[in-house]
Amino acid sequence: MSETGVIHDIGYQRYEGPRLGRGAAVLALYVHGLRASFGFGRSAKAKIFPWMVAGIMLLVAVILAAVRSQTGQTIFTYVQFDDQMAWLIIFFVAILGPELMSRDIGSNTLPLYFSRPLRAADYVAAKFAAMVTAVWLLLGVPQLIMFLGAAFTTDDGAKGVWNEFLDLAPGWGYSLLWALLFSSIGLLVASLTGKRAFAAGGIVAIFLLTTPIVVVLSVLPSSAANHMAGLASPMSLIAGVGQWLSNEPESMSGLDLGRFGPIYGIEAVCLIAACLLLLLARYRKVAAL
């Protein structure tokens, strides 16, 4: 290559500094993944989609906060905000999953990771944590803006702020549930292919194709089928878990859980666990290549 850059060659220097262990590598991979989620350290092109989605959500949150502070009217609660933003979350997950998983598969980088102290479980854990954090931030920050808007215009002083915070906390928890479930599904689908477009399409397809099943089940002439219709799609599953946990019999999503609430909770937990185990199994195999 070019020899022009050589001014003087001080020779090879051995590295005597500290070597951090696996934990530091996992943490670095987590931070790297979280930055990559929002296109930091990537080209401008990689920033377009994540920031478009984030921008829309922030804008909606600002409008909601403004409306509430001006008119005192609550259009969406914190929990309803997540439900209403469902399609944007799916879009975000469909960008993120391929960015975090398919990219390393497509460019064949995995042998470079797994010839280092990193293990399959470390890799999966770091990527999953990064994606959960990114999705949660996507929802949590707009919720925080809504909270700030409400908190600054409250008439009840500190008590009003506290009450508002008691509304926000379950909203954040609900966002975490979205983040956990959608990240595990998104990462699993993305880990199956090295082609980003296929992975993104696959993720959207899973959410898109399961929605009609919910509709069909909910009009069947069986009350058990109606109550359990929501189980068929990840989106209505989360809404169902949210309803069950908050003890609301009916909500805007139009789901009627009946007494099947706990089943929604069990399925959500099992689905997340199953996705993560499958991911782990897949990467165990890749790591041994």
Partner: protein
């Protein structure tokens, strides 16, 4: 110092494919050539040394550590350069090597410094800030080598480092590997199916075929007392052969060349005298070492 020692190392994959069979070698520090045809078990051997797969039976020690049990310690001291393309297109080499340095456990600033050092040592300067997607094959190979060097390992495992390079690129890569082995004080295992390529830069050689050890030794002991002179004349090769035989030299014919064992320096004079006596025009007279290949004639045919 022995860096790699195996004891009856055997690896059988599911389905009964034997990749390595009863391999017992012990290698000293230096540049080590690992030669064998495709499918001879070179890559399997490397993966076992990295602790990526466990041997079916037998044992392996790298720096007197067991890669299966002490995986982290082994991997901290070993750098691996895979055979295939393994670089993302849309990041710069500097960023990518820094990232992998951190994956090896280097702190942030150290990783950045070591990355630019490693890239400089492999000969990438200003180019390192450009995206890898725009690199030539030669540059990509250098980035792959740099990522193996970034955490300052004591041993490099290079799987076919000259793959896909043109002759000039091959020479440059081999020179670089030789430099790493001699000047940097890092031992290197170079995998190749081209014996002629690695024998030039290696201190010792491990030849495997079908998972079995053909031979493992230092290059110097393989090529000992095997220096020959190659003589080539424009015409009259047969006459020259006869004339040299008369002078008591064991001449062998190799195509248009005559090979004469170099017993003493007097052999040069004798050949020159014979050529001038016959009034032939001499094209070439050079000393060449027996190529190690000649020690593995069966292996060479397997290569083709």
């Amino acid at each position: 110092m022995t860096i790699i020692a195996t004891e009856a190392l055997t690896k059988t994959y599911g389905g009964g494919v034997t990749a390595l069979a009863d391999l017992t070698v012990s290698v000293d520090a230096g540049v080590i050539g690992l030669v064998g045809a495709n499918g001879a078990g070179k890559s399997t051997f490397i993966k076992i040394m990295l602790g990526l797969i466990a041997p079916s039976s037998g044992s392996v020690r790298v720096f007197d550590l067991d890669p299966v049990v002490q995986t982290d310690q082994v991997r901290a001291r070993v750098g691996y350069m895979p055979e295939n393309d393994c670089l993302p297109q849309d990041v710069s080499a500097a960023e990518f090597v820094t990232h992998l340095g951190r994956m090896s456990g280097l702190p942030r600033t150290a990783a950045r410094e070591r990355a630019s050092e490693a890239l400089r040592h492999v000969g990438l300067y200003e180019e390192r800030y450009r995206q890898i997607g725009g690199y030539s094959t030669g540059m990509k190979q250098r980035v792959k080598l740099a990522q193996a060097l970034v955490h300052d390992p004591d041993l490099l495992l290079l799987d076919e480092p000259t793959n896909g390079l043109d002759p000039a690129g091959r020479d440059a890569m081999l020179a670089l590997i030789h430099r790493i082995g001699t000047e940097f004080g890092i031992s290197v295992v170079v995998c190749s199916h081209l014996l002629g390529e690695v024998e030039r830069i290696c201190d010792s050689l491990i030849a495997i075929e079908g998972g079995r050890l053909l031979r493992a030794d230092r290059i110097s002991s393989m090529t000992e007392a095997s220096d020959v002179l190659a003589v080539e004349v424009s015409e009259g090769t047969d006459e020259l052969a006869a004339a040299l035989s008369e002078r008591g030299m064991a001449v062998t014919r190799d195509g248009r060349m005559l090979l004469v064992p170099l017993d003493s320096d007097a052999a040069y004079d004798q050949i020159l005298r014979a050529v001038s006596d016959l009034d032939l025009s001499l094209h070439r007279l050079d000393q060449r070492r027996h190529r190690v290949a000649e020690l593995f004639t069966t292996k060479e045919t397997a290569d083709v």
